[in-house]
Subunit: 242 residues, 2 copies
Amino acid sequence: MTKRSPRTKAKALRTPDARVSALGIARDTARDIERGVYQPGARLREQALADKFHCSRAPVREALRLLESQGSVVIEPMRGARIATPQDPTFYEVFLIRRALAGLMAQQAALAKHDEAKIHFVAAARGLPARARAAVDGHAFAKSIRKAIGALIAVSRTPRTVQLVRSLTFGHEAFQDEIVDIKKNRLAQANLWRDMADAAEAGDANAARAAMEGIFDNSRDFVAGRLPTETPKRRPTRRQAE
Amino acid sequence: MTKRSPRTKAKALRTPDARVSALGIARDTARDIERGVYQPGARLREQALADKFHCSRAPVREALRLLESQGSVVIEPMRGARIATPQDPTFYEVFLIRRALAGLMAQQAALAKHDEAKIHFVAAARGLPARARAAVDGHAFAKSIRKAIGALIAVSRTPRTVQLVRSLTFGHEAFQDEIVDIKKNRLAQANLWRDMADAAEAGDANAARAAMEGIFDNSRDFVAGRLPTETPKRRPTRRQAE
DNA sequence: CCCGACAGAATTGTCGACAATATGCACCCC
DNA sequence: GGGGTGCATATTGTCGACAATTCTGTCGGG
């Protein structure tokens, strides 16, 4: 007879755009960055973003701080926010860091108990070899890979690691599509994902981590061959606003 | 010609505390957290910090966002900021991340070529067991550990990783001194450092990483055994400010 | 006696405006 | 003509106030 009346009190939001808060702005802007709407190094003026989202500069500032912590934006005191540039001299080191953190995720996924998320991940990873053979180009297969990554994120339960990897992936994910564009790499990576799924189901953390690191090593062989030619080390333009 | 409006060029700082900006507040508060001024889980009310630093709430909010990105503070929407506690889900995850990144550093140290930095690191690490036996308390030994860490940083040549680990060490290094306060742990860690030095000299990256991860696992056993007695996450809704 | 609902207080989210500082441009001197 | 200097503009940092939401203490009913 206990009348469960949750304290939902008719949430009436007056603002026309109900989702224009700091978090929403950060999410939308992050998506824009991911989609390449802004050039690397482009300035993000607070007033412009405030006008775009029909709000004040305060939530925009919060959103920019959030994006900075995510790594996709760099804020310098009194000089504003800019899109982060992958022109770091530590490009290869970032690759190694991502490798280590991804290995941690695989390890945690293997240690996680068997629940629906784990079953989903194992299924997604095991299906990759078949998709690698069926896919005619790298783009379709990359989509499947991203699905498996999403399942891995869900099962590993390592939000901070995911956040860290995201902040470090900027400028690197461009290689991924190229890597799986070669059928040999595609199949090799798919098989490693399958190995990871087997290890995860068996609870073998070391094997899962080794498989994940193998995926990165497979990519590294590809990336290493084309990295040395990249050292522009100059600032092409000064004004890249908007 | 344009109109001439001569203005005062004198730089006059009106505020008595010239360095009370968001960054300064973040740094000072981070130091306070490190020194244990705030209890883990204590709330950080914006107005209280604003009063403390004689400024408005805006820079305080910026500082809190910064501290959140560093992991020493947890912010929940509409519920304010709290000092991060080991009970927070991300605490152990941060520990694992540090473990993975430290393993990467050891790995890179082993792969580095033999130069003066490597010789220095190997010597520093090999000397730890003797120092562990000679040290009468944990504090002296912790100093030797820090020296070895400095040598490892120099030889591994992973500045980005070091920066990342530094940003994640908040609230964790407090345990380190306690861990080496027990002689058994002290000796175990020293021996693992020695193993790491051996592996580094032999160029065995996997062994070096395993030794480093062993050091963290040794610490984890200590931390895990002491955590349940900390705070039982009940409902300590009393005033925990200041 | 315990559970749910209500009102008050406390705290956070957002806003518009002002002050401080960096950037860009024209001018002046060499 | 080139380089340094100073001002005008644009952008960021900060402030005080209001609105929205959550938390706390109290009251009434079963």
